[in-house]
Structure formats: structure tokens, C-alpha cells
């Protein structure tokens, strides 16, 4: 575990990306930009997952005859499995949200959050 924590860049870099996404959510008023912010956060989380599974001098967690002979170290396979699922989910959500943004535009003729909210409340 201590070994992993040494890779500060891998840990804090993705978190910084995540915070960039949060900043987008905090400040942007355009629906598309909000979706992009969510995507940036997704990216950050996914990188973070991968980073946590990484080890130095380790090979891919695929068990082959050659591997059994040369190396005893795998990178952790679980985060890699998780990140696949997570990416799939984020793609699905993004696809859906983009459709939703189009629908919103059709309904309100604007992508501005404040304007939509104003129309909603009337």
C-alpha cells in the first residue's frame, strides 16, 4: 500500500481533474458545458481508479505460460475491471444526457440554465 501512495502524481493528478469538473459545475450556465464538466469528473475518477491499481515493474494481469516463468508481479486486476464498467456507465450516461440536452433545447429554445429555470417556474 505504501508503495502506491508514493505515486502522488497518479493520485492527486486525477483528483485535480475531478476538481476541474466540479469547478465547471459550480460556474457554468450552459447545459452542454455542464455535461462536459461531468465528463471531466468521470475522467478524473477513472484515472484515479487506474492509478490505484498500478505497480512498478509489473505486467498486465493476464495469466500466460510465459508470465508464470518470468515475473511474479501483476498490476491489480480488480481496478481495471472496475474502470471498464465505470467507463461504460459514463458513456451511457453521457449519451443519455446529450439526448436530454437536445430535448431541452427543443422544448425551451435555449441552453441557458437560468432562462430554462425561468421558463420552468412560470
Amino acid at each position: 500500500m505504501g508503495e502506491i501512495i508514493n505515486y502522488w502524481t497518479f493520485i492527486y493528478g486525477p483528483l485535480a481533474i475531478f476538481l476541474v469538473g466540479v469547478y465547471g459545475l459550480l460556474t457554468q450556465k450552459n447545459l452542454f458545458k455542464l455535461v462536459i464538466s461531468i465528463n471531466i469528473m468521470d475522467l478524473g475518477v477513472n484515472l484515479y481508479i487506474i492509478a490505484l491499481g498500478y505497480m512498478d515493474n509489473a505486467s498486465a494481469p493476464i495469466y500466460t505460460a510465459k508470465l508464470a516463468v518470468t515475473s511474479s508481479r501483476f498490476v491489480d486486476p480488480v481496478p481495471q475491471a472496475l474502470v471498464l464498467t465505470s467507463i461504460v456507465i459514463s458513456v451511457a450516461v453521457t449519451a443519455f444526457v446529450l439526448a436530454l440536452v437536445i430535448k431541452n433545447y427543443e422544448k425551451y429554445n435555449t441552453l441557458d440554465l437560468i432562462k430554462i429555470k425561468g421558463i420552468e417556474n412560470d
Binding site: L25, L26, K29, L34, L113
Partner: protein
């Protein structure tokens, strides 16, 4: 028949009564009256004290008892319900939802049996809650502003109920059970501070329900807006639930305990008693003043209830044997007189469609029995001998005189004198004086309404002459819990100071009345004048044709008196302002938490996140 069976019967009958009322409301109401009568008969016929359980709930069984302490309340509840139901056979003719009304009042009957028949606090609470929501629907059925009144009633009742349930579970924790007997046996093991908390919770709940100032705010609107026959139940019984609670807690809690162990040290253990006694005094004064200022007969009686709630509380907080008995008697007195007053005002409303005093007048000729009922009731309410009200007030005064507190004595006498002022006003404005033209052909109410009122009148007079009928069960109650009982025979009452013989009082007053009547018939030579002649002296006043009520002589009846209290701060207005403020602040909360833009929400989330971490981190 134990109480549990009677309650099940009432529950089943409520459905049957509803169905019958759907086809014919009159038959349904008659069935209701018969049901109440039969249930009352079975309770009486059984005679012996008994306990029973209703165990359709697994693990939770509802315990009921028919015993020395609740006997008198059970009969009070049943007889009030019988009278009101009898009255309703004709009285609910104009109501919009008759079958539902009958159904709900039967449920009220069931909850009355449950509350008064309960042998543990949970059972009491369950039926109390049942009563709350059923009453809510009943009050909502009333007049124009009844919906708001019902909501206010509900709000206050829920506060009372929740205070009570907190107290109940505190008891449960302290003594490991919520039956009354358990509480009596383990009372000593409760710590002083807990005792104080429990007492406060129960008494506050009781005060809200009983309508003691400053918690009376629901009473004015609920009384004036609810359907007339339900107002009688509300003031006759449901309001008394609050005092029943105080009575119970007084019986099982401090008073019984203190009296048992240290008869001389009557009220000193709990300092709150003094506080509540003063609260009672304030309630008497303010209720009286407010009642004098009302123009609506029903609102007037509502405020008189505030004042009389003060009397009952005063009696209970005094804690002597005599005062305790006086308090219980006053509950009965007020139930009976409020019933009589509301029924007679309800009868007036039934025929005229208004309860505003300055729109009525001179109905004594049209409705003599209604007038008599009202007269007897107010005499009793004001505590004028020789009627029932005098007995209880006498008992309360005796304890006041013996134990001596100037403020309380002043309050009690002020209330008495004030009550002459307010009860006289509807009498003069509604029944005496000049009759408006449109009411000239008003008839006396139909038979069953008359019957209901007649019973109330007879009971008020009967208990006045023979108070021993009522005092006997109170005495046996006092004996059972080990308090030194009051001394009374069928028509005699003994206090430390003096003896009261109601038969003599009645004879003297009866003789006086007959004498006055003879003088009146022989010597009085009334001249008939038209209603407004006395004001206009023959002048033609244009407003007289358009708005005759402003020249009604009951208008601004106590103007000089009410001018004194013009600037008096109103508790109701204070509450109203508070409620408005609260409501607008809820709007602000909604704006802040639920009407942001998406960015706003994310800010909210981030800040919450950081705050929770920061608090822990530093």
C-alpha cells in the same frame, strides 16, 4: 359486558349506523341514540368494577377498566352523547353530510369510551388520537370558516398529543410499564426531576386540550364554526379530556402520593402547582373579559369555557380533598351547562340561521323551552344558587378561603361576577328585548331537540338540589385512593367552615322566585313599544331600514367596559403574527434549498462536504 366489548360494539355499530343513515338519516340517528342508550345500560347493568383486555393486537393489548376513578367520567360521557344524539335526531336536518356525521359521532362515542375506560396510557393515547382526527373531520363540516378552525384545532391537539406521548414513554421508562396500577405501585422510584418533567408534559397537554389561557387559542374558532350539535360534544366532553388527563395524573401522581403519605403537606412538593394555580387565575380573568367582549353567542360561550377551565385547574392545583372533589364536580357542572348553552344556542341557530347576538332578539315568546334551558344553564354556570353550578363553586371557594391567596380569591370572584355580565348578554340579546321582524314567525324546535334540552335542564336542577347523587361516586373514589373524603349527604355538604344544605337553598330561592312572580303578575304594567323607538324618539333614521342591527340594543352592550380593554394585547393576534412569520420563513427556506440553479445546488453540496470534513479535521 366489559368495556372492551362495549367499544367493539360501538365500532361495529358505527358502520351500521352509517349504512342506515345513507338510506334514512333520521332512522340512522335514532339508531345511534338507541345504541348509546343500550351501551350505557349495559355498563350500568353490569354494575361491578371490572377490567378487561382487547388483545386483537399481538403483544400490545389494550387494557380497559371500569373502576372507581373513571366511573363518573364514563357516565358523563355516555349521558352527554345520549343527549346530543337525541338532540341530533331533529337537529342535524340542515347538515350537508348527515350519514358521515352520524358515523363520525359514533366513532367519537367509541373514543370517549376508550379514553375514559382506559387502564393504561397507551390505550388512552390511541383513543385520544382517534378522537383528534375524527373531530377534525367533524369540525370541518361546520360553517363558513370551519376549515381554518379545524386546522387550528388539529395543530393544537397534535401538540398536546405529542407532549402526552413523550410523557407516556418517560413513565414507561421509569417504571417499566404504562398501566395505571403499575404507575401507582412504582411511583416512589421515579426521581424528582423526572417526576417534574412528566408532570409538566401531561399538564401542558391537558391545558391545551382543556383550553386554559394562553393555550386556549383553538377554542374560539372551533366552538363557533363547528356544527352546533358537535360543539356541544366538543365542549361537553372532548375539552374535558384535558382535565381528565390532569385528574388522572393528579390522582396517580403527586396528589394521591402526597396525600397518602403526608396529608398535611398538600401541595408543596411540586413548586409548579403554585405556578399553575396562578395560571388558572389569569385564565379565569382573561376568559371572563374576552367573553364579555364577544358578539357571537357561541364565541362568548367559548371564552367562558376558558374561564371555567381556569376554575377546574385552580381546584386541581389546590390539591385539598375538598378542592379536588370541587374540581371533578366542576368538570361535570361545566359539561352539563356548556351542553345546555350550546344546545339552546344551536336550537336558535337551527331556526334563525345566526348566532350573532345583535341580529336576534325577543325569541322568548317563540322558543320558551330553549329560553328556559339557556336560563337554567347560565344560572348554573354563573354559580348562582340553587343550581348545580353553585355546588362546585362553593366547594372551590371553601378551599380558597381556607388556604387563602388574595390573587386567586380575587380571580375567582372576578370570574363569578364577570360571568353575570357575559351570560346575561345573550339572554338579553337573544331571548329578551325586541324581536326583529323577520323572526316573528319562528317556531319552537322539533320534538327531539326539545327532549334533549329538557333532559339537560332537569339534570341541572336535579343535581343542584341533590348534589349527593354526584358526590357519592366522588366520595367513594376518594376513599379508594386513600384521601380523606369530603363529607356530604344527599343534599348536604360539610366543609371545615360551614354547612351547605341545597334543599334549604332551593326552597328559599324557589319561594323567592314565586313571590317575585306573584308581584310581577299583580303589579307590573308593561307598555309595548317597537324595537327602535327607544333610540330614535320618533325620528326617521335612514340606516334603520338598511342596517337595523346597528341600532339593536345589544350592539356595543358593554361599550364602556370594552373600551377599557381596547388596547389590551390579544394572545391570538400574537400567535397569528408568529405563524405568519414562520410561514414566510419557510418560503425563504424553500428558495434557499430547493429553488436554486444547478450551480447553486453544487455549491450547497460542496460547502456541506467541506464543512463536515472541516469540523472534524480541526
Amino acid at each position: 359486558m366489559t368495556i372492551s366489548y362495549l367499544i367493539i360494539t360501538a365500532g361495529i355499530m358505527s358502520a351500521i349506523i352509517y349504512l342506515v343513515s345513507k338510506f334514512n338519516w333520521k332512522a340512522g340517528t335514532i339508531l345511534q341514540t338507541l345504541t348509546f342508550l343500550i351501551i350505557g345500560y349495559f355498563l350500568y347493568h353490569n354494575g361491578d368494577y371490572s377490567s378487561s383486555q382487547l388483545a386483537i393486537f399481538n403483544n400490545i393489548s389494550l387494557n380497559f377498566t371500569y373502576s372507581y376513578f373513571n366511573e363518573i367520567f364514563l357516565y358523563l360521557g355516555i349521558s352527554v352523547m345520549i343527549i346530543v344524539s337525541l338532540f341530533s335526531i331533529d337537529g342535524i336536518k340542515n347538515y350537508q353530510y348527515k350519514p358521515v356525521y352520524n358515523f363520525l359521532t359514533t366513532l367519537i362515542f367509541m373514543s370517549i369510551l376508550g379514553v375514559f375506560g382506559a387502564a393504561d396510557f397507551i390505550t388512552l393515547f390511541i383513543f385520544w388520537e382517534l378522537m383528534t382526527w375524527v373531530s377534525f373531520f367533524l369540525i370541518s363540516m361546520g360553517k363558513k370558516y370551519s376549515k381554518k378552525a379545524a386546522l387550528l384545532f388539529l395543530f393544537m391537539s397534535m401538540i398536546a398529543a405529542y407532549l402526552m406521548i413523550t410523557g407516556i414513554f418517560l413513565i414507561d421508562n421509569a417504571v417499566g410499564g404504562i398501566t395505571f396500577s403499575n404507575l401507582i405501585n412504582n411511583y416512589g422510584s421515579i426521581s424528582y426531576s423526572l417526576k417534574f418533567k412528566i408532570l409538566m408534559l401531561f399538564v401542558l397537554a391537558g391545558l391545551i386540550k382543556g383550553g386554559v389561557y394562553p393555550l386556549h387559542i383553538w377554542m374560539r374558532t372551533s366552538y363557533s364554526e363547528s356544527p352546533d350539535s358537535f360543539t356541544s360534544i366538543l365542549s361537553g366532553i372532548l375539552m374535558k379530556f384535558g382535565f381528565y388527563l390532569i385528574y388522572l395524573i393528579g390522582l396517580f401522581f403527586p396528589v394521591a402520593f402526597i396525600l397518602k403519605n403526608n396529608p398535611s403537606k398538600l401541595i408543596s412538593e411540586l413548586p409548579s402547582s403554585t405556578f399553575f394555580a396562578y395560571l388558572a387565575g389569569i385564565s379565569i380573568i382573561i376568559g371572563t373579559i374576552a367573553a364579555i367582549l364577544q358578539n357571537d353567542a357561541k364565541k362568548l360561550i367559548a371564552f367562558s369555557s376558558v374561564s371555567h377551565a381556569g376554575y377546574i385547574l385552580l381546584a386541581f392545583t389546590y390539591g385539598t380533598s375538598m378542592a379536588f372533589a370541587g374540581g371533578v364536580t366542576h368538570i361535570l357542572v361545566h359539561a352539563l351547562t356548556a351542553l345546555g348553552m350550546f344546545l339552546s344556542i344551536g336550537a336558535v341557530y337551527f331556526r334563525t340561521g345566526t348566532t350573532k347576538i345583535d341580529e336576534l332578539g325577543g325569541l322568548i315568546k317563540n322558543m320558551p323551552l330553549t329560553f328556559t334551558t339557556y336560563l337554567v344553564s347560565i344560572i348554573s354556570l354563573a354559580g348562582i344558587p340553587p343550581l348545580f353550578g353553585f355546588v362546585s363553586k362553593w366547594m372551590i371557594y371553601q378551599s380558597l378561603i381556607i388556604n387563602g391567596s388574595y390573587f386567586l380569591a380575587f380571580a375567582a370572584f372576578f370570574g363569578s361576577i364577570g360571568s353575570f355580565m357575559y351570560v346575561f348578554r345573550p339572554l338579553a340579546g337573544v331571548f329578551l328585548g325586541q324581536r326583529p321582524k323577520k323572526f316573528e314567525n319562528v317556531k319552537e324546535v322539533p320534538f327531539f331537540m326539545k327532549a334533549g334540552m329538557l333532559i339537560v335542564t332537569i339534570l341541572t336542577v336535579l343535581f343542584g338540589v341533590l348534589p349527593g347523587l354526584v358526590l357519592k361516586p366522588i366520595i367513594s373514589m376518594q376513599q379508594s385512593i386513600g384521601i380523606e373524603p369530603i363529607k356530604a349527604s344527599l343534599y348536604r355538604l360539610f366543609s371545615g367552615l360551614t354547612t351547605l344544605d341545597m334543599l334549604v337553598v332551593f326552597t328559599v330561592f324557589g319561594a323567592g322566585f314565586i313571590l317575585a312572580l306573584i308581584i310581577f303578575l299583580l303589579f307590573a304594567k308593561p307598555t309595548r313599544v317597537k324595537q327602535h323607538e327607544q333610540y330614535t324618539a320618533g325620528e326617521i333614521v335612514p340606516e334603520l331600514q338598511t342596517q337595523p342591527s346597528i341600532y339593536h340594543y345589544a350592539k356595543n352592550y358593554y361599550k364602556p367596559f370594552s373600551r377599557i380593554f381596547d388596547k389590551f394585547p390579544s394572545m391570538e393576534k400574537l400567535y397569528k403574527k408568529g405563524a405568519e412569520y414562520l410561514s414566510s420563513s419557510f418560503g425563504v427556506i424553500e428558495e434557499f434549498f430547493y429553488e436554486e440553479s444547478i450551480n447553486g445546488y453544487i455549491w450547497l453540496i460542496s460547502i456541506t462536504f467541506l464543512v463536515i470534513i472541516a469540523i472534524r479535521w480541526f
